[in-house]
Amino acid sequence: MTVLFSVFLLTLLVITAIAAVQSRNLFVSVMLLGIFSLLIAANFLLLDAADVALTEAAVGAGISTVLFLGALALTFEREHRPTPHRWLSLAVVFAATLVVLYATFDKPKFGDPGAPVQVHVAPWYIEKTPEVIDVPNIVTAVLASFRGYDTLGEVFVVFTAGIGVLFLLSASHGHAAQRRPHNGDESKIGLRNDLIPRVVGRLLVPFILLFGLYVQFHGDYGPGGGFQAGALIAAAVILFALVEGEERTLEAIPRGALLALMVSGAMLYGLVGVAGIFLGGEFLNYSVLADDPIAGQHLGIILIEAGVGLTVTGVLLSIFHAFAARDRF
């Protein structure tokens, strides 16, 4: 039965994708992209990928939508003209699809426990995790320890995007930029002048923050971890910004603090790695962090997850503010 649910969701997925590409209103495309994210996340859940589902929902439906909206607010909402027919590109796309379809036929069967991916490497993780790391969530164990170096790279990708957007949007305004009437917080229209969303929003923000912390520190036991928590906390602050206004949010958490979050998170992760070297192990070897290797692993995982969370929160909020501030200059 779940199989049929999957098929149904996948079909909806394709329809959503087509609609998102077809629509000439970019805003509609962005909203459909949000739906697309929810759908693909539900699919991930059906395919047993709970952590991925959580991340995809938080990132795709939440953060990505907000970022796209921020960019649309600064640019245009509509495509100017219909897509020209570029036959060459269509041919390339078509060829690529045929190639991919060609590959489907020799693939191992769906869900086959004897497939190469299930018999090599992966069983080792499942078998060894309780023994050498002892956290219930194997995904967290692999992410933070066995392949911790990848995750370090991931944190620095996020960090790079953060400084990239800050760098780009700190440039002086170009000649085609037009000054918009400053209507930000004085206008009578906007959520911050709406009683109900404002009250509800303010009520919810602390709970969302709490939930974010739960996801952060519960990541060893269930779906969650630093990245998801960072996205959720950032979402909570964005909600605060929506109902209370940019200025109040920046008063609460100034840009400098966000930059400090970014830097300190990345450095925390790096320093945990370096500590491994100085305590006699390899880079990112957490076992040497404490007398007992397993306690060391636990400590290391908690620290690096905290680093991930800090960086992600800092970067996402910095990017959000960078877009929002560009609107009113």
């Binding site: 991916v117 450095m267 790695g273």
Partner: protein
């Protein structure tokens, strides 16, 4: 004190990477540059040390987090990666040393820490790709280096850099995603991400369609990132409009690292296991390489913008490297690898000279550069040396690799003769386009009359910049006369990659 020497492969990547967040905080003027330069020079010393170890016969390996491969992520430095590490770190250090004035002109002081941070991240990403022994880890570091290099290119005050960098981003992401698809398919069939482990396990499934498709996706994706003709469309604009110092760095090493991954993946994982793959590889890449040489050089012949001319010349030079590799022989492959090194030297010198020129010139249009050499004779002299090396005049580094390329081509019989014709034609065109520049800057009278050109006093670039440029120029001569270290690295690397081939 812990003995750090065994951790060098990790330090090579991690040191610049961890320096990057700190650099962001260095607001006072010039401090960010100093920190970045110091970090980059240190990374270069690490690379030298690693290369020394490799030349001495050591097999440098490192396991991250203490988890054995293939469960954890391993790092490995062999001859090929040592060569690339030298190129990447050398280019970064030289470019940064020369960059200060040039970057001061291009970017406001308060944005500079972000810029230098991105620079270090690019460096760390490129090093990370080179030392990694894990297919997915390569993807992650590829993305770090790509994202950071987009930032670098977008630092240019020229607004045309923005569409260029957008195109670069699109193409780069498509390339990386193709690579990811390919890795996914290989993983699906073998169950492992470790390159060495893949090599062992791919035997059993080598004849199945997903592997074939994976080989295609990985090759195309990386060719896109390496700007192999005809997938080079992002390169000319990105190089032309990037800040000058960034062009030095990226032109010398960014595409070569993608090429490195392409060759490594192909030779280690696919070549010896897939039936008929050699033939496909040659049939696919050799014509493209030849076309790249011919078309790239031909376009450069008619280009009027100095930087763009050099960018198209880069497209042609990538062709030479690929041509060597596509012969699938030790001689050809080592010629290609050698050319990576020598081209980085030559193109680095040329673009360094461009950085110097940029301090005094407002335009790079050849028609308006008349007499520039009178004002900046030292700069232009270095430029000419770099140009000679690019052409492949005996006595310069460029000659060595072309000589090897021709020798390798001779082994190929009649096909080789055709290849030699291509190489010679490319070199002749190089002579022509370098001559166009030389003619414009040395021999043409500036139109504004004698007031500007004739009596213009020497107006050279800042000393440090000039010194770096000349050091690079002299290195072209030096490595042309004394070739052993890099040749030994290239030959051993080629032998190692082809070692198991029948």
């Amino acid at each position: 004190m812990t003995d750090l020497s065994m951790h060098l492969p990790a330090i090579q990547v991690v040191a610049p990477m961890l320096l990057a967040p700190l650099v962001v905080l260095l607001k006072p003027r010039g401090l960010a540059w100093m920190a970045a330069t110091a970090g980059s020079i240190m990374a270069f010393l690490v690379a030298l040390n690693l290369a020394g170890q490799v030349l001495a016969g050591a097999d440098v390996r490192y396991v991250m987090g203490g988890w054995a491969e293939p469960y954890g992520i391993g790092l490995r430095v062999d001859e090929f990666s040592a060569l690339l590490l030298l190129i990447v770190n050398g280019a970064s250090a030289a470019a940064l040393l020369a960059a200060r004035r040039s970057i001061d002109d291009a970017i406001e002081g308060d944005r500079q820490p972000l810029f230098y941070s991105a620079w270090l991240l690019t460096l760390a990403g490129l090093c990370g790709i080179v030392v990694s022994a894990d297919a997915f880890n390569i993807f992650v570091f590829m993305e770090i280096s790509s994202l950071a290099s987009y930032i670098l290119v977008a630092g240019s005050p020229d607004r045309r850099a923005l569409p260029a960098v957008f195109k670069y981003l699109m193409m780069g992401t498509i390339g990386a995603t193709f690579y990811l698809i390919g890795v996914g398919l290989v993983y699906m069939m073998t169950g492992t991400l470790n390159l060495a482990d893949m090599e062992l396990r791919i035997h059993e499934v080598a004849d199945q369609r997903p592997i074939l498709v994976a080989a295609g996706f990985i090759t195309v994706g990386l060719a896109l990132k390496a700007a192999v003709f005809p997938l080079h469309v992002w390169l000319p604009n990105a190089y032309t409009y990037a800040p000058h110092a960034v062009t030095v760095f990226l032109a010398a090493c960014a595409t070569k690292v993608s090429l490195y991954v392409l060759l490594r993946f192909d030779f280690v994982v696919f070549q010896q296991n897939l039936v008929g793959h050699e033939l496909q590889f040659t049939a696919f890449l050799m014509p493209l390489a030849a076309l790249a040489i011919l078309v790239g050089s031909a376009v450069a012949l008619f280009e009027n913008n100095l930087k763009r001319l050099l960018a198209y010349s880069s497209v042609a030079q990538i062709g030479y490297i690929l041509l060597g590799a596509s012969m699938i022989s030790v001689a050809g492959l080592s010629a290609g690898m050698l050319h990576m090194f020598n081209h980085a030297l030559a193109k680095g010198t040329l673009f360094l000279a461009v950085v110097c020129l940029a301090t005094r010139l407002a335009t790079f249009d050849l028609r308006e550069m008349a007499g520039a050499a009178r004002a900046m004779p030292w700069t232009m002299a270095a430029f000419v040396l770099g140009g000679l090396s690019l052409i492949g005049v005996p006595g310069t580094a460029g000659f060595i690799s072309k000589w090897y390329l021709v020798t390798a081509a001779l082994e190929q019989g009649w096909l080789g003769v055709a290849l030699i014709v291509v190489v010679v034609a490319g070199s002749l065109m190089a002579v022509a386009y370098i001559w166009r520049i030389v003619e414009a800057v040395w021999f043409t009278q500036p139109e504004g009359g004698a007031a500007e050109g004739g009596t213009a006093s020497m107006n050279e670039a800042p000393l440090l910049m000039l010194a770096v440029t000349w050091a690079a120029a002299l290195a072209n001569i030096g490595f042309g006369l004394y070739t052993s270290p890099q040749r030994e690295l290239a030959e051993k690397a080629a032998g190692a990659l082809l070692g198991q081939l029948p």
